[in-house]
C-alpha cells in the first residue's frame, strides 16, 4: 500500500477512536465513595461570581458554584476538589475521565444533552441583551440584522443568534473567551450589541464602570445551569439530582444564591427545561467555503505580518550590529521586550490596552502584533547572518570606495539573505500557525473556524482533518518556494561535500 495513504488512514483511525464516547467510565459514584472525593471541572477564567480566585486570598478559589459543589459533596459524604480546565474543553475532558462532573455555568443546551447527562438545574438565568445608550432603537434580538453582536463561544446565546442569523451576511457574530472583552468592544463601538446570561451582563456589562452601556430589560430567553455527568453514569446523575432537590427543599441552595446576590424570582419557577434539539451540522459545501475563507484570512494575516516583520527585523539587526551605543541599546531593548513576552499578551495590549488611545480593527491589530513580534525574531536571524560574513568582504568593499550604506546594500545584505533564508522559512511556517493566536481578538481564522465547526458538528474529526489539510496546503508549497529560492541564491556556492 502507498505509504502516504497508510499515514492518512492511520490518522483517521486515531481520530475516530478519540471522537466517540470514552468507554468504560461507568461506576463513577462507587469510585467517588471509595476515594472519599468528588472531583469537578471548572475554569477560574469564568470569573466572579461563578468560580474565581479570591481577590483577598489569591490562590484560594471561591464562587457560588464552589459553595454548591461543597454542599453536594458534603451531602454525598465526600470531600469536593475543583480541577482547573479551560472552559471550552470541559466537556471533552469530562468524557476523557479527567474528573467526575462539570459545574461551571454549563447551560442545558440540546447539543450537550445529546452528548452527556445533565443534572436538574441549580440556577435559572435570562439571556440579556446589552447595547449602548446611544442606540435606543435596539430593543430585541430581532433588531440585530446586519449588526455586529458579541457573545461567548459555545453558549446558548451563540446558538440563539445563529438560529436567527444564519451567517455573517445576516449578522456578524464575534465570539470572545472572557467576560470583560465583549463589553469593552461594545463600549468602543467595535460591536453593536452583546447577548449573554444576565449574571454576566449585570456584573460586567451594564455596570457603573460602563456608563454608556445599558441592559435591555426584556428577557430574550431563559436557560438553566446544570451539572454535567458522563453518559455512562446515570446512577451519579440520580444521586446528584436527589441532592439538588434536597438542597432546594431545605433552603440551602437559596442561602448560597442569596449569599452571592443571585437569588431572584426566576429560581422559583419550573426548572425543567429540555430545550429543542438542533440538528448537528454536516459536512457540506458551505462548511468548505467557510474553511476556505478562514484559510484565506490565515494566509493574509501571515503574509502581511511577515512583510512587516522582515523590514523591522532587518532594521533592528543593522542597528544592533553597526549602530552607535544608544541605537544598539534601543534595538536590543525592543528585541528583548517582544521576544521575552508572550505574543498573546502583546495582542491583548494592542487590541484592548491601546483601545482608549487608538482603536485598531482586529485584523490591523493582529497584523501589527504578529509583525512586531516576529520582527524581533527576524532581527536575530539577520544579525547572525551578518556576523557570519567574513570581515574581508567589508574591507574589500570599503577599499573600493563604497560608503557604509552601499557596503550593506551591495555586499553584506545579499550574502546575509542566503544565510538567513532557511531560518526565515522556518519562521514563516511557524508564523502561519502562530497566527491562530489572533482568535483572542475575535479574528476568525483557520483554527478558530475549526473549533466553531467542531461545536456545530459535535465532533473534532472532520473539522480537524479539514483544518490540518488546509494548513498543509498553505505551508508545503511555501517551503517548496523557499527551497527553490535558496537554490537560486546558492549559485555562488561550491557544492558541499564531507
Amino acid at each position: 500500500m502507498n505509504r502516504r495513504l497508510a499515514l492518512v488512514l492511520g490518522v483517521l483511525v486515531a481520530a475516530a477512536s478519540c471522537d466517540g464516547e470514552a468507554p468504560g467510565h461507568g461506576g463513577t459514584l462507587a469510585r467517588i465513595r471509595e476515594r472519599g472525593e468528588l472531583t469537578w471541572g471548572g475554569d477560574v477564567q469564568g470569573g466572579a461570581p461563578y468560580v474565581f480566585e479570591d481577590p483577598e486570598h489569591p490562590p484560594q478559589v471561591i464562587g457560588f458554584e464552589v459553595d454548591i459543589m461543597a454542599a453536594v459533596a458534603r451531602r454525598l459524604g465526600v470531600r469536593p476538589r475543583m480541577v482547573q480546565y479551560g472552559w471550552g474543553s470541559l466537556v471533552p475532558s469530562l468524557e476523557r475521565g479527567d474528573f467526575d462532573v462539570i459545574a461551571n455555568g454549563l447551560e442545558a443546551t440540546a447539543e450537550r444533552r445529546e452528548r452527556i447527562l445533565l443534572s436538574d438545574p441549580y440556577f435559572v438565568y435570562a439571556e440579556t441583551l446589552t447595547v449602548r445608550t446611544d442606540r435606543p432603537e435596539l430593543r430585541a434580538v430581532f433588531d440585530l440584522k446586519g449588526m455586529r453582536v458579541g457573545t461567548l463561544s459555545q453558549t446558548y446565546a451563540y446558538d440563539i443568534l445563529r438560529r436567527l442569523y444564519r451567517d455573517d451576511s445576516e449578522a456578524v457574530i464575534k465570539v470572545y473567551e472572557g467576560n470583560e472583552e465583549p463589553y469593552t468592544d461594545l463600549e468602543l463601538g467595535r460591536t453593536d450589541a452583546v447577548l449573554l446570561d444576565n449574571i454576566i451582563a449585570e456584573r460586567y456589562g451594564c455596570t457603573p464602570a460602563h456608563p454608556t452601556l445599558k441592559c435591555v430589560p426584556y428577557e430574550v430567553a431563559r436557560g438553566v445551569y446544570v451539572i454535567g455527568i458522563r453518559k455512562a453514569d446515570p446512577e451519579l446523575k440520580q444521586a446528584i439530582d436527589a441532592v439538588l432537590a434536597a438542597m432546594h427543599a431545605d433552603g440551602e441552595l437559596e442561602a448560597i444564591l442569596r449569599k452571592w446576590k443571585l437569588w431572584d424570582d426566576r429560581q422559583l419557577e419550573d426548572r425543567h427545561s429540555e430545550g429543542q434539539v438542533v440538528r448537528s451540522r454536516a459536512l457540506d459545501g458551505e462548511l468548505v467555503v467557510q474553511f476556505l475563507f478562514a484559510a484565506w484570512v490565515t494566509l493574509k494575516l501571515t503574509v502581511l505580518a511577515f512583510l512587516l516583520a522582515v523590514p523591522v527585523g532587518a532594521g533592528l539587526a543593522v542597528a544592533r550590529v553597526y549602530g552607535a551605543a544608544p541605537v544598539r541599546g534601543a534595538a536590543r531593548l525592543y528585541i528583548e521586550l517582544f521576544r521575552g513576552t508572550p505574543v498573546l499578551l502583546q495582542l491583548f495590549v494592542l487590541y484592548y490596552g491601546l483601545a482608549p488611545v487608538i482603536s485598531l480593527g482586529p485584523v490591523e491589530a493582529a497584523v501589527l502584533g504578529l509583525g512586531l513580534n516576529y520582527g524581533a525574531y527576524e532581527a536575530e536571524v539577520y544579525r547572525g547572518a551578518l556576523l557570519a560574513i567574513p570581515r574581508g568582504q567589508t574591507e574589500a568593499a570599503r577599499a573600493l570606495g563604497l560608503g557604509p550604506v552601499q557596503v550593506l546594500g551591495h555586499v553584506l545584505l545579499p550574502q546575509a539573505l542566503r544565510l538567513a533564508l532557511p531560518p526565515m522559512t522556518n519562521d514563516f511556517v511557524s508564523l502561519l500557525k502562530d497566527s491562530s493566536l489572533v482568535s483572542v481578538i475575535t479574528v476568525i481564522e483557520l483554527t478558530k473556524r475549526m473549533t466553531i465547526a467542531a461545536v456545530d458538528m459535535r465532533g473534532w474529526m472532520i473539522p480537524g482533518l479539514l483544518c490540518a489539510a488546509m494548513y498543509l496546503v498553505l505551508s508545503v508549497p511555501l517551503s517548496e518556494l523557499a527551497r527553490r529560492l535558496e537554490r537560486r541564491l546558492a549559485r555562488d556556492q561550491r557544492p558541499l561535500t564531507l
Binding site: 567574513p390 574581508g392 568582504q393 574591507e395 574589500a396 568593499a397 570599503r398 577599499a399 573600493l400 570606495g401 563604497l402 560608503g403 557604509p404 552601499q406 551591495h410 555586499v411 545579499p414 550574502q415 542566503r418 541564491l489 549559485r491 555562488d492 556556492q493 561550491r494
Partner: protein
C-alpha cells in the same frame, strides 16, 4: 605621490608603527619586506585608512589623512577611488560574477552607466588574462585567477596608487607567476605601487626601492642592488639570508 610623516600606530600598549616617515615618487614600485609582525601590512593598510592611526599624517594621491576621520567622511571616498588595494585572501564578492565584481565599484561609487562599467570591466579582465572567465563566479576560479580578478577590480577605479598586501602568499607556486606577471606589467606601465611580499626575485627584479620594515620602523630603504645584495643592518642581513637558504 605619497608622503608619510611621523606615523604612529598602536594596539593597546603595543606599538606597531613608531614614527614612520618616508616618501614615494610617482611611478615608483616599492617592495616592502621584513620579518612578520614588523608592521608591513599595518603600514600598507594605514595608507588607505583601513587601519586608523594615533598620530602623524599621510598625504597620498592628493588626499590628506589624519587620525580620527569618520567612516563616512567624503575624503575617504576620494582616497579609495584613487588608491586600489589587493588582499592576500582576494576577498572577491562570492555572490557576484567576475565581471560584476569588477564593474560594481565604478557603477555604485562613480555612478558610471552599467554598460560603460561592463565594457571597461571586460577590458580589465582581458588585461589580466581572464577575458573568457567573465561570467564565472569566484568559487569556479582557481586562486590565481581569483587574485587576478581582484587586481582587475582594484584597477577599475583607475587608481593612481596600487597597494598589494602579500598578493601571492595564499597561492600555490605555479599560480604565483601569473599574478606576478600582471603586477610586473603594471610596474612597466608606470603605476605607483607598494607591494608587501616575501618574493625575493620580485623585490630584486621589479622594485625600484626596497623597504625593510622591522619593529615599526623602516630599517633600510634603498634600491634592490643595495638593500638586497648588500644589506647594512643586522635584521636585513638575517632576513635575506634566511630567504636565500629557503629558496636556493
Amino acid at each position: 605621490m605619497i608622503s608619510v610623516r611621523s606615523l604612529c600606530k598602536r594596539h593597546g600598549d603595543r606599538e606597531i608603527l613608531v614614527g614612520v616617515t618616508t616618501q614615494v615618487g610617482k611611478g615608483e614600485t616599492i617592495a616592502i619586506v621584513g620579518p612578520s609582525g614588523g608592521g608591513k601590512s599595518t603600514l600598507l593598510r594605514c595608507l588607505n585608512y583601513l587601519e586608523r592611526f594615533e598620530a602623524g599624517e599621510i598625504e597620498i594621491a592628493g588626499v590628506t589623512l589624519r587620525p580620527e576621520l569618520a567612516n563616512s567622511d567624503p575624503v575617504l571616498r576620494t582616497l579609495r577611488t584613487r588608491v586600489g588595494m589587493v588582499f592576500q585572501q582576494f576577498n572577491l564578492f562570492p555572490h557576484l560574477s567576475a565581471l560584476d565584481n569588477v564593474a560594481l565599484a565604478p557603477r555604485v561609487v562613480k555612478r558610471v552607466s552599467a554598460t560603460a562599467a561592463e565594457s571597461r570591466a571586460r577590458e580589465l579582465l582581458a588585461q589580466v588574462g581572464l577575458a573568457d572567465r567573465a561570467a564565472a563566479f569566484p568559487h569556479e576560479l582557481s586562486g590565481g585567477q581569483q587574485q587576478r580578478v581582484a587586481i582587475a577590480r582594484a584597477l577599475a577605479q583607475d587608481p593612481d596608487v596600487m597597494l598589494f598586501d602579500e598578493p601571492t602568499s595564499a597561492l600555490d607556486p605555479e599560480m604565483r607567476d601569473d599574478v606576478m606577471e600582471v603586477i610586473r606589467s603594471l610596474a612597466r606601465g608606470g603605476m605607483t605601487m607598494l607591494v608587501v611580499t616575501h618574493e625575493m626575485q620580485f623585490a630584486h627584479d621589479i622594485a625600484s626601492r626596497v623597504w625593510v620594515i622591522d619593529r615599526g620602523t623602516i630599517a633600510e630603504d634603498g634600491p634592490p642592488t643595495e638593500v638586497v645584495d648588500r644589506p647594512q643592518t643586522a635584521v636585513a642581513r638575517e632576513f635575506f639570508g634566511r630567504l636565500r637558504r629557503a629558496s636556493p
